[in-house]
């Protein structure tokens, strides 16, 4: 009761103050988003009639909350941070508002095509990219030298294995290769699926039949398990992006294959002990014409249930604009600019000088092709994921089998046949092919 009175009172007050609008922004707790929140006073001073409220959450919890809200039309949020996985699914169901009001100076054509096409359905843009990433190889130049090897610009998986073995010195706490092992569709499955693409494997054939019983998958997973046994750190099966980042920053990894955004973190002198000893290379391949690099972007979108779409779009336009890039550069330095969304950033010499990983990032993003992720044709879109609603569930379940194979609780064959079985079940229940 009292609560309602207060709400009512607040309502009157805000009506009095020239109809000030409050928009609620749900975002993930990544460094670039935290920076956005910090700098958002720039937006509110330009738009004094808009107030911002923030909900910052860990990725998985964020995803649950926004998905529940958007699907039930709960209307709790006006701006949602979502990934390239959600956008096509949600857009198809009309859960998102088309971003048709981003302002004249927004320069849509400046967006990197590979990223933009993933956010566009029937020529309508449903989300604006905040940052984009692919994956790449990060390695320690000093350890590489010590091992007497040179990293090519485009290594093969065989070379990675050899180099990792040579760099490993378990007594000193140096592990040659750090890869994601934590179960989850956005964790180990993202890495292993991208890897699998370069080994020629795929999730489904053209008739939506799961393909885990193919030799391509066996090769992929066997390689992953073997190489981690040889050169991986203890506790790999619990390591995700953050854990590996911490390991790499403290000098415990020789090679780390992960998101291109990590480039900025590992070369940042404040947090990284190895900042000046890092080299970059393209994600490895296996001679089949596909590299194991993924494509992802965190985007901002307006749910259809939002009652303040105009204010929300104004905010999105601000946060994904060239001006915002400039703002971050002024306040935080060029290296901290959110990467991977605009072509203009990569023709900016200041950025290219400040970010040694920039060229690799751009090359990786541009070479990624979500419509043809692997060697053989597939019925789905997505490189490290399959853009169907069922994927979060089966992805995570399969990820658990992979991590069981990594810890040795299951053999590679067992893990794959269990995966095959449970994906078949889910697809049967969801009545594919649709």
């Amino acid at each position: 009761m009292k609560n309602k009175l207060i709400m009512l009172a607040c309502g009157f007050i805000s009506m009095g103050a020239a109809a000030k609008e409050t928009i609620t922004i749900a975002t993930v707790n990544n460094g670039d988003m935290i920076t956005m929140k910090e700098l958002s006073s720039d937006f509110t001073s330009q738009n004094p009639d808009i107030d911002l409220k923030w909900v910052t959450l860990e990725e998985n919890i964020l995803r649950q909350r926004v998905t529940t809200d958007v699907a039930t039309k709960g209307g709790q949020y006006d701006v949602m941070t979502i990934g390239t996985y959600e956008v096509p699914i949600w857009g198809k169901q009309n859960w998102l508002k088309e971003l048709d009001n981003l302002g004249e100076n927004y320069d849509l054509d400046d967006l990197i095509p590979a990223i933009r096409s993933g956010l566009t359905i029937n020529d309508k843009l449903y989300a604006a990219p905040f940052y984009g990433e692919s994956s790449m190889v990060m390695y320690r130049t000093d350890l590489m030298e010590k091992a007497g090897l040179t990293m090519p610009k485009a290594p093969t998986w065989d070379f990675i294995r050899k180099a990792a073995k040579a760099m490993t010195d378990k007594k000193e706490g140096v592990y040659g290769l750090c890869l994601r092992g934590k179960a989850g569709w956005g964790e180990n499955v993202a890495l292993i699926t991208s890897m699998a693409n370069s080994f020629g494997a795929r999730w489904f054939d053209e008739n939506w039949k799961p393909q885990f019983n193919t030799p391509e998958w066996e090769n992929t997973l066997q390689y992953y398990v073997d190489v981690m046994k040889e050169s991986g750190p203890a506790g790999s099966s619990a390591n995700g992006f953050n854990e590996n980042l911490a390991l790499f920053q403290t000098g415990k990894c020789g090679i780390w294959i992960d998101a291109t955004v990590a480039g900025a973190f590992v070369t940042n002198k404040k947090d990284s002990e190895v900042a000046d000893k890092v080299g970059f290379a393209l994600a490895p391949d296996n001679g089949l014409g596909k590299r194991g690099n993924w494509l992802w972007s965190w985007t901002l979108a307006v749910p259809a249930s939002s009652k303040k779409p105009d204010a929300a779009m104004k905010f999105i336009s601000w946060a994904t604009s060239k001006e915002y890039t400039q703002l971050v550069a002024d306040k935080k330095g060029w290296a901290k600019v959110p990467p991977g969304t605009r072509k203009s950033l990569y023709s900016n010499q200041k950025y290219m000088d400040a970010a040694p990983f920039a060229q690799i990032t751009l090359d990786s993003i541009q070479s990624a092709d979500p419509k043809n992720p692997t060697v053989k044709p597939v019925p789905y879109v997505g490189i490290q994921f399959v853009a169907i609603p069922e994927f979060q569930g089966i992805g995570t379940a399969v990820g658990q089998q992979f991590s069981a194979a990594l810890t040795g609780q299951m053999t590679v064959k067992q893990a794959l046949s269990t995966s095959q079985h449970l994906v078949e079940r889910t697809m049967r229940k969801a009545r594919y092919p649709k």
Binding site: N60, Q64, T67, T68, A71, T72, I89, Q93, G173, K182, A183, G184, P233, A234, G235, S236, S237, A238, E243, A246, L247, T250, K252, P389, E390, Q392, G393, I394, T396, A397, G399, Q400, Q401, S403, A404, L406, T407, Q409, M410, A415, T418, H421, L422, R425, T426, K429, A430
Partner: protein, 290 residues
Amino acid sequence: MATTNSRTLARFMLLPSVILLLAWMIVPLCMTLYFSFIDYNLLVPGDKEFVGFLNYEFFLTDPAFFESFFNTLYLVTGVLLITICGGIGLAILLDQAIWGRNYVRIMVLAPFFVMPTVSALVWKNMLMNPVNGLFAHFAIWLGFEPIDFFAQMPLFSIIIIVSWQWLPFAALILLTAIQSLDREQLEAADLDGAGPFSKFFYIVLPHLSRAITAVILIETIFLLSIFAEILVTTSGGPGYSSTNITYLIYTQSLLQFDVGGGSAGGIVAVIIANIVAIFLMRLIGKNLEG
């Protein structure tokens, strides 16, 4: 004895609780029951067809189901064993004359106040992490290979964390019970020449039986729905080795957004919980009353 008047009044005073709990239970339960018979995925809007027992069939034949059923049992019994045995020991110790008893008591009590998410995060990252965790540093210092807790013994690691949270609760209730023990009885036993073990088994333990019952009941209620600790530490893996029923339902409801399947799982979990409850009542119900 109470008059008819006060009896009516008593009924009346019970009403708010009963009605509220009934509503809290029945409304969602009916909706869940309804959802469990339709094909309803939150991410696939459209016709919600009636599918009969299909959701139940898929949930019960899920390869994860049996493993998670047994994991649930291991988790509950494991934590109960540790907290009750440890709790009795602590209660006896805290019952002795010691210096600084208040400080000791607050230290023992403290884990109970910690949020499950926080304690799982702290144990996972700062203590049990095999590279940067304190246990690993300690093992290396002693010259051992650090244990990779969540890979090598995932369920047991979770049992440890959960036990740490519930040990204070058990110790506290058991301590209260021990303090009400008749000292003369113990002294009489002393005079009869009874050793510490026979005193414990013939006097202390029987006296504690009611308290133990209460601990089992309350803890079971909470332990059946353990979830945050698993989500934060192992996400149910590797494989299904640390998935319990609650977590399995979670993956159905909040990862697949399969409301139908999740609801069927929810109903199955309610049935299991009720079986456990009936079993508990039979086993210890007598102890509770009297």
